[in-house]
């Protein structure tokens, strides 16, 4: 049930300060990745999970650790390997003696944390990967018929390496769909590298101050959810997601499967989160356009011909955003869009 009360200017102002501080702190941890930091912050404020993809050594893990410290949240890190079992993540029942009787006692796994860093998630088998499905969507795990609720907030920040694909298991579509964003971590420029070399030492982790408490961050998340989403923006989101399906737009040529309704919900939540980060009381067309790539990129499947033709999901999303007008109105032919 959506709340009818929208975030006030005061609430937005209160939330904006820690967000700005978080942004600044993380920029001190990861140089030259301002856009990536903004998107990761946007994702966690929108209560979403984020999948980071990039080459080794460019700061993915560092960013996650820095975020955990700044938010003052409990963090667990799991290095995914092919022999990792589901129970290694969710936890296992252990036979213990309690009051003279031997019974199974649930031993929580590393998933019982606020921020789970799933490093190289694509190296685990699909069975293990799917152990995260219920946790990511419903924020709880079920072991031997017993359901255990995860701590609030709960985020999965997963990383995967686009090279060395031998011995890896591509994430199942259902799993990928549960990530709010899939972000590509790009290499640094020469100036950024010079700055890293100047300010960092190998093996020494950067100091990250605690910016918010868990309660404050929960309040920020609550405020983000109460950001106003105008009907025209919701309509725009719906038309963009619909246009990713085959036959619904010119840009969707070569698409095998389009984005799901969950993608539309994710885009709406992320847009509200971005609006809050920018101190606005409403989400806008610009928010949707800015986040469409991060939200839809991993949710579109291309067919064989399109892939062989060199097309990518990202190019499809960009084409869809360019094709779908913000208003569902046509323009008379006697008028043209100004250059």
């Amino acid at each position: 049930m959506l709340s009818n009360s929208f975030a006030s200017d005061t609430e937005i102002e209160i939330a904006s300060k820690p967000i700005a501080a978080l942004r600044q702190a993380l920029n001190e941890v990861l140089f030259g990745q301002g856009e990536l930091i903004d998107l990761v912050l946007c994702g966690v404020i929108a209560r979403g999970h984020v999948l980071l993809e990039g080459l080794p050594g460019i700061g993915k893990t560092e960013l996650v650790k820095g975020l955990a410290k700044a938010l003052n949240l409990t963090t667990r890190r799991v290095q995914f390997t092919p022999d990792l079992l589901p129970g290694d993540i969710t936890g296992n029942p252990v036979l213990q003696e309690v009051d003279g009787r031997r019974e199974f006692v649930f031993q929580p796994g590393p998933i019982f944390t606020n921020l789970l860093l799933a490093d190289e998630i694509n190296r685990a088998s699909p069975k293990t990967q799917s152990a995260l499905l219920e946790a990511m969507q419903e924020r709880r795990v079920t072991v031997l018929g017993q359901t255990h609720t995860l701590p609030d907030p709960f985020f999965v920040l997963a990383t995967q390496n686009p090279i060395e694909l031998e011995g890896t298991y591509p994430l199942p579509e259902a799993q990928v769909d549960r990530f709010l964003f899939k972000l590509e971590v790009l290499r640094n420029s020469a100036e950024t590298l010079a700055r890293i070399v100047t300010h960092r030492e190998l093996g020494v982790e950067p100091e990250v101050p605690v910016i918010t408490t868990r309660e404050d961050f929960a309040l920020i998340q609550q405020t983000a959810r109460r950001i106003y989403l105008p009907e025209i923006v919701a309509d725009y989101i719906a038309r963009i997601v619909d246009a990713t399906h085959p036959g619904q737009s010119k840009a969707s040529e070569g698409v095998r499967f389009g984005a799901s309704p969950r993608a539309a919900l994710s885009l709406a939540s992320a847009s509200k989160s971005r609006a809050l980060m920018q101190g606005r009381p409403n989400a806008s067309f610009e928010d949707v356009q800015a986040l469409a790539l991060a939200v839809l990129n991993h949710r579109i499947l291309l067919d064989y011909t399109a892939r062989m033709d060199g097309r990518t999901s990202a190019s499809v999303v960009r084409a869809v955003v360019a094709e779908v007008p913000v208003q569902n109105l046509s323009t008379p032919k006697v008028l043209k869009e100004a250059a």
Partner: protein, 441 residues
């Protein structure tokens, strides 16, 4: 608060301006086909009126033109109305163009403040002047062209009409018959009157089934009359010729026959549907075939020549063609049969041969008509061959290799590919082939 109210007013004014612009665009787009239609219709109507020789007064056109424009405007307004945008939609257009993060929509709903108005407010829409002015210009050009296009009303009114070919043919025949003095003018006028009756019906019915049927019947009737008259004149001329030149050699019976034929031909000429030249008929009537010697040789020759010419004229108009090639001569041949003297021997040929029969003998060869003999018929002329026709058959056998190869083991193949041979065939679609070609290039 006052500032907000002022901002709201100004934003709404800008939005209304944008909405008016878009709605006017839709109105112009809806009127475009109407303008084209009106231009074409006006062009056709003005040209038609002018081609009838009627003068067009420009003062009388203006009210009609004004009424037509008003009607077109009302119709296009009704058609374009479903595309019209509201002020709210125009506000969304403005905020998206000015990247205001939907601030105008939010302010309109009372959930936020109206933003400041930028120094330049552009709705991002420009007129396509070629599309705006094109239809109006085309319509005007059509009307002006129709008004000032040089048209000669006489030429337009007397455009040559195409009439059935049979009428023209019959007209030509009658003209020639009168020119050669074969028929009387009255008879010619009577026939021409029948053609005119057909011609008097409305032009659009000239080529109707009934009209064409009547025309053909009339033409056939005329041809038949001409053929009969031609035959009668030829018969009279032949009889006169025989009586004039071979009277001494003919028997009395033959002479009687010729006299009878002459009389019949004369009667035929008089009673024919086409009334022949009275001068010729008078001359023929005054001749006594039994006493031709009362006429000079020159008079008879002249009369025969006249009959020959007139018969030829009638023949030239398809008289013979109507009855069939040589039909008249067949009749003459048939009439000649049986006129030979009877005798025991078979006829020796000629038109006066007797009706004798071939003698019956006991020899087998005499009665062998060759009916049991089969002969192959072949046709090397392929010019009339049709599609699907069998042009030839040939017996043949498949080229089967009967060489014994001995038993082969399971899984072995007797057709082993050699170097350069195609041993398998791709089953890829053309699209997939193109993709693979591009990938491995």
């Amino acid at each position: 608060m006052n500032d907000q109210a002022a901002l709201s007013t100004r934003w709404h004014r800008l939005a209304r301006r944008t909405a008016r612009k878009v709605n006017l665009g839709w109105l112009l787009e809806s009127i475009t086909p109407l303008l084209f239609s009106a231009g074409a219709l006006g062009f056709a109507m003005i040209v038609w009126v002018r081609s009838r020789g009627a003068a067009i007064d420009l003062m009388h056109i203006w009210p009609w033109l004004l009424a037509a424009v008003l009607l077109a405007l009302m119709t296009s307004c009704l058609l374009a109305r479903r595309h019209f945008i509201s002020t709210n939609a125009a506000l969304v257009r403005l905020e998206s163009q000015l990247h205001l993060h939907n601030a105008l929509t939010v302010a309109q709903l009372g959930r936020g403040a109206w933003p400041e108005i930028p120094s330049t407010v552009a709705d991002g829409l420009e007129w396509r002047w070629s599309r705006v002015s094109g239809p109006s210009a085309a319509c005007a050009v059509c009307l002006i062209t129709a008004l000032y296009l040089p048209i000669n009303p006489d030429v337009a009114a007397t455009l040559p009409s195409v009439e059935p070919q049979a009428w023209q043919q019959m007209d030509q025949w009658l003209e020639k018959l009168q020119e050669e003095k074969v028929v009387t003018p009255e008879s010619k006028d009577e026939q021409a009157g029948k053609i005119d009756t057909l011609r008097d019906q409305p032009q659009e019915k000239w080529f109707s089934h009934e009209s064409l049927n009547a025309s053909d019947t009339l033409k056939e009737q005329l041809q038949c009359d001409l053929a009969n008259q031609s035959q009668n004149m030829e018969k009279a001329e032949r009889s006169l010729n025989a009586l004039q030149n071979y009277a001494d050699k003919l028997s009395e019976q033959v002479k009687e026959q010729l006299l009878k034929e002459f009389d019949e031909a004369l009667e035929g000429m008089k009673s024919g549907m086409l009334e022949l030249d009275p001068k010729l008929l008078n001359e023929l009537s005054q001749i006594d075939p039994k006493n031709l010697k009362s006429l000079s040789k020159e008079q008879l020759d002249q009369l025969r020549e006249s009959l020959k010419n007139k018969s030829g004229t009638c023949e030239g108009m398809g008289g013979k063609g109507f009855l069939g090639d040589g039909e008249g001569r067949d009749d003459l041949l048939a009439e000649g049969l049986g006129e030979g003297e009877e005798g025991d021997q078979p006829g020796k040929g000629g038109i006066t041969r007797g009706p004798g029969t071939a003698p019956l003998t006991l020899s087998k060869d005499e009665n062998d008509f060759g009916t049991n003999k089969n002969e192959a018929v072949s046709n090397q002329d392929m010019s009339r061959a049709q599609l699907g026709a069998t042009l030839g058959l040939q017996d043949g056998k498949h080229d089967v290799d009967k060489t014994y190869t001995g038993p082969t083991t399971a899984g072995d193949t007797s057709n082993k590919g050699q170097g350069g041979q195609q041993v398998w065939r791709e089953s890829l679609t053309p699209v997939e082939k193109a993709v693979l070609k591009r990938v491995f290039k």
